[in-house]
Amino acid sequence: MARESFDKEVQFLRMLALAGGAYSRQQFADRLGISVHTYDKTLRYIKDMRTALSSEAAEDLAEGLRYNHYESADPLLLFLFRSKSLKDSESVRLAVLIGLMQGEAMTAKELLDACSDSMPSDYACPDEKTVRGDLKYLEEVGVIRRMDGGRPYRYRADIDLIDRLADEELLDLYDYVDVMANTQVPAVQGYLLRDTLKKALTRRGYGPETFDVHLYKYHYHTRILDEAHLYTIFEAIREHRKLTFLYLSPKKGKNYASKNTNPLFERETEGRVETALPLRVVYDHQYGRWYLIGHSPRLGTMKYRLEGITQIEMGEAVDAETFGRRLEAVEQELEHSWVTDSHRRVKIRVRFYNPGRAGANFVRERVEAQGQWGVLTDESDTTFLYEIEVNGIYEIKPWLRSFGSSCEVLEPAWLRRELIAEWKEIQAYYEPVRENL
């Protein structure tokens, strides 16, 4: 898949997952800046992929990727990572070669001979050069291993991790991978491994009832789409290289007045080309979103939402000393960020109210679990205080507001006033409608 078409596919899937069902074909295509024809083609491709991967009939994707937590634990969006395009003949050949090396170690020559028996009749047998090229590739990605001993080299599928485990051990491994892929970052490789282990267990006779035992409630499934960029970003960080990309800012920008602009999927022409030295990546657990933190010589510290980054390219490297200095500065800046905010530090004092009824103190538990580096002190039987120094109030405010009447901001006074004003507006949303006389 070409790079632009890949970017489109990520955007396409994100839109299906986030705004599923909201748009007609034409609206959907407009928002992605593609033609209806491309929309149909992309959807068909995704459907083919889904059908090939799952025995169940693919539901109507145009309705959106709905996720019913009690029905399936398979990550629906993983198939993005299975979409790299490949010639039919190549996929047939690689599958045949891997199949031949499952049990025994073979030389290139032996594989070449065996291929002529194993290749489906509509595909031509590969020549020796092709087979050697394939072996080199498969060894690089770790699918096969070269055995000890001299030439001619023998190769075998590297599946000891599975073959050496007893059934029960393999089941425990599947569970562990399932839990870690769902609860930790990064996750994509884990989900791929989960697929592999699921297949290995099926081969050993485990039925479908084995696989849907765990559920993950309030999971941000789209987070794995953004992992698509991590590889390039990590490589750039490791090598201290700059990145250039077309950034489609999902934030409310200056063209706020332009009514029909869906900021999530702006057209390419609305993006801007950015160059920055990548330093860190931030994962925000509140929304399940990723940010790239970088440095731009012109603008200083920059934060980009990964979902807005397209056409990413590696650029020149900076020296280690410069990179180290920038990184140190950014780490200091982010130390007091609720997420990524680097505005002036503010001291916030909040009074939390314990729930009136007896039983577990949900308010306190939640503040303790989510309050990051803030400090709690007891105040009375019914209240406790929470103090935090944080960069700006924009990111912490929603969290404070989410507590409703269990939370009262004491300082700064202007934040207190802001919240009062907001609650008045919210209250107005729910008042019975009155006719103006």
Partner: protein, 281 residues
């Protein structure tokens, strides 16, 4: 490690499936090696398996790039694994019944309750495991931390099917839904809002003439406090338009909160309303 290797291509995968072959990559092994460094691995395996796995992975590299990720606003990780996951998952998969003894909130235990274990559920916000199980009193959700003992009970297959379908019917019955509208002047923040609701089972609709987005969220009735906390999180950006119970709760929320602020111009705590405690995580 590039997750876009051609080896992950879906056509190769389905051909491998047909031939019952397996391809395991360095990517997957390195990821696993990294994850096995997490203390949760101690609770996940029988004695001996963990060292065997580490030995099998000794030649792989861990993923060093994890150090480049800063995680923010994460709930404290109370638990990633729990020792009871292993025995409980086996009971669920084998279709066996369960005899549970659980600790009660105010001390004491409830002993020998019989039922059917249905699912193991991890709450991503509370970062904690629960057992969903069904018994005569209905569908229950117990923290694994509160389970004192769990023993399998033999169950005839027809009885299992019967209990299981009743449990799932109950889950469906408990489903409630709400329609949340994006207040139009905040349409520019659509992305943020949709992300916030992306952890729910939901559908979105858009009326082009009115330029109006509505999100229909479906969740279990006992999750409505969490849904409310999300709605309060988003503040003025959204408004509940369907779901009388939720609308009433938002009205209360607003009134109680304003009462708090009005009641305490200085730093004295306000004596009053019940508050939005909920079990919202």
């Amino acid at each position: 490690m590039n997750p876009f290797e051609k080896i992950f291509n879906y056509q190769i995968l389905s051909r491998l499936d047909e031939a019952d072959s397996i391809a395991l990559t360095t990517h997957e092994r390195s990821w696993l090696k990294t994850m096995l460094e997490h203390p949760a691995s101690d609770d996940a395996f029988a004695a001996g398996t963990l060292s065997k796995l580490r030995d099998l992975l000794r030649n792989e590299d861990s993923i060093d790039s994890r150090a480049y990720i800063i995680q923010k606003a994460k709930s404290r990780e109370r638990q990633v694994y729990h020792p009871l996951l292993r025995p409980l998952r086996r009971m669920i998969q084998e279709g066996s019944g369960i005899r549970l003894t659980t600790r009660l909130k105010h001390g004491g235990v409830q002993a020998n309750q019989n039922g059917l274990p249905v699912k193991l559920e991890y709450n991503m916000v509370k970062r904690e495991w629960y057992l969903l199980w069904y018994n005569a009193r209905g569908l229950m959700s117990s923290k694994l931390q509160h389970i004192v003992s769990a023993k399998p009970l033999p169950l005839p297959p027809e009885r299992f099917e019967d209990l299981r379908s009743r449990a799932f019917a109950l889950l469906e019955e408990r489903r409630t839904h709400a329609v949340i509208e994006i207040v139009r002047e905040y349409n520019a923040e659509l992305s943020r809002i949709l992300y916030a609701f992306s952890c729910f089972d939901k559908t979105v609709s858009y009326d082009e003439n009115l330029d109006l987005y509505q999100i229909r969220v479906s969740c279990l009735a006992d999750e409505s406090e969490f849904l409310l906390s999300k709605i309060r999180f988003l503040g003025r950006r959204v408004r509940i338009v369907e779901g009388e119970q939720l609308r009433r709760r938002m009205r209360e929320s607003a009134a109680w909160t304003l009462a708090r602020y009005e009641g305490t111009p200085d730093s004295q705590p306000a004596p009053q309303p019940p508050g939005d405690a909920g079990s919202a995580s």
